[in-house]
Amino acid sequence: MRSRGPPRCWTGRRNALRCRTAVELSTHYLEGALAPDELTCCPQGLGDGGCAVASASGMSGDDPGLRADDESSGDGALVDALRRGDETAFASLVDRYYDTMLRVARMHVATREAAEDVVQETLLGVIRGIDHFEARSSLRTWMFRILINQAKTRGERERRTRPFSSFAAELEADEPSVDPDRFIASGRWAGFWALPPVGRDLPEARVLAAEAGDRLVGAIEALPPTQRTVITLRDVKGLSAAEVCELLDISEANQRVLLHRARSKTRATLEHYLDERVEVS
């Protein structure tokens, strides 16, 4: 039996921002949306903050009651309700997942209308298939598998008539994270900053005007569909890397490549915003 002491900190590295991440994710954790492993050995570095969350909740990270990897255990009541024909249960399922489903579908098809069709077909498939759902995976995973299959089929059909940026092409594209002209090109200091980001006391996210958030959302909207989906699920909606890989059926490495590109561009937008803000004041 595993000890029930406080969860181990992953690295013992001190880093206030990691703790801030932990605090941001704490609700997620307390709701059981993170596995205990993600607390004690979290890819996001829950580290010290994870311990704080666990002690605040009065639970140890080893508490089996928090095991979110067994997400399907919470599905039983919902699946029963759907099978019974409980309309409220179905409506809440639709309201809860529609937006995310739409984004995921949009990775594979060219237009929003096509993505809406795919989501509609998927939810009809859920209605028809719920009696055959065997709970080998969580309900959510099952629904997103249906969704991705539908979206890919539709996407392949579309591509025969009109080519557009595919998932594979997005991964293969070679994009620098920062404009190469901002680095010294040759000599002893080649590869170091020539035009570095301006050093300043960065404000807290909370105190920046809503305008800053709007600008970043605008930047996200302009991203290729797969990058847009990954950054939306990870950073806007706060899902873990593991959850995003599972929902989108992509590898950890590909998830990170897409997140990296998306975050690099979003940071560039923020940098412009911060520079303008100083010029105005």
Partner: protein, 85 residues
């Protein structure tokens, strides 16, 4: 095993792997050594983290897109019809 030092142009390409704790100890230490001596890359990381924090703020304040009312109604109709059958 010691690895060659990292330059800024490489740091910005590896920063997400570092933030996601996806690096082995050797690569991680090399990046952190660079970070310790480079105020510009430190600023860069600060901006990345601020961008992520801003997106979380947005996520908490902006409601998610609701399904179009017609689509929602037709799904509920289909559900009623199918489950009654």
């Amino acid at each position: 095993m010691r690895q060659p030092p990292v330059r800024c142009v490489e740091f910005v390409e590896s920063v997400t792997d570092w933030m996601e704790d996806a690096l082995g100890d050797g690569d991680r230490l090399t990046l952190e050594e660079h970070l310790a001596i480079c105020p510009h890359c430190t600023e860069y990381v600060g901006q990345l983290r601020l961008a992520v924090a801003l997106l979380r703020e947005v996520g908490e304040t902006v409601p998610r897109t609701s399904p179009p009312p017609e689509a929602r109604a037709s799904l509920l109709d289909a559900f009623r019809h199918e489950r009654r059958a």
